[in-house]
Amino acid sequence: MNPVGPRLGVLASRVRVEEKAIMAALDRRGVAFEHLDPRTLSVTGGAAWAGPEFVVNREVGHYRALYAASALEAAGATVLNSAAATHVSGDKWHTSAALLAAGLPTPATTLALTSEAALKALEEIGYPAVIKPLVGSWGRLVTKVADRDSAAAVLEHVEALPSPQSHVVYLQELVGRADRDIRVIVVGGEVVGATHRRGDEWRTNVARGAASEPCPLTDEITDLAVRAAAAVGADIAGVDLIEAEEGRLTVLEVNDRVEFKGFQSAHPGLDVADRIVDLLLSRAAA
């Protein structure tokens, strides 16, 4: 398709296993692409854009990913995922709101506008509960609070954080099997596969050492994952599901710049990067 076809790009400041796999998948098809590094990128909205017209967004920093996607779109490029999807799925509250609006099961979540309001709300929610930062980072700062004293200590820390946005408190009921969740990869509205993640902590992020094992797909897993990705508007998504009461699944999170290193080692027969490239090329050909 190129050099006459549309110009393609991969946006990433860190080239990790996932970004390298996407670039290698493009190379294998003999398709030229540009590596856009957000650390050196500037885009003028509305002006003639000589850069890639179809871009996979793999920037690790949420705000750089969000603004880069928005600026590239303003210059006329198509970004996967879109800036709108990154806006929603990069923020836990926006994600919860989108899941609720779509009628999907998700743990009971409360947004408190101050620490004081959070403490008051926790009396209603009950303990243990979970306090999460809105813009999350591999489970860091995700805190399980067992009682009022530990909640007050965490909220005091939250209040001392510099950004106004981090003073908004996201509270969630603690649901399900704490040591295990299901990660489902969705690309272009289709489920690629799923893994079980088990951790020895109550958080199951692979970045924190959780192990991934293949998880057989069921209609429930497939249906929830596809609908959750659609609810946040993500073409490429990692949907985290957790078992709630009576074995029913509930949607915990949707990740728009999904990491799939753990998934890939659990599923050597599947190729997430290839599926992402398929999607990029089909959009570029449309």
Binding site: A12, S13, R14, V15, R16, K20, M23, A24, H35, D37, V60, G61, H62, Y63, P133, V135, G136, S137, W138, G139, R140, S163, N205, A207, G238, E253, N255, R257, V258, E259
Partner: protein, 60 residues
Amino acid sequence: MSKTVLAAECPECAADVGLDADARVSEIVECVECRSELEIESVDPPTLVRAPEVEEDWGE
């Protein structure tokens, strides 16, 4: 898997860090000696710099 064909010096401990033939600019690698997280600054010639510090909004 690709073979180690390039070597660059770790900016932290000066150890030789092997880079694969398919190494890419901005790729993150780890020094086997000091475990520092490093970024490939250039592949020709192979040079490494310390990887950027993790920022608050990083992660999925």
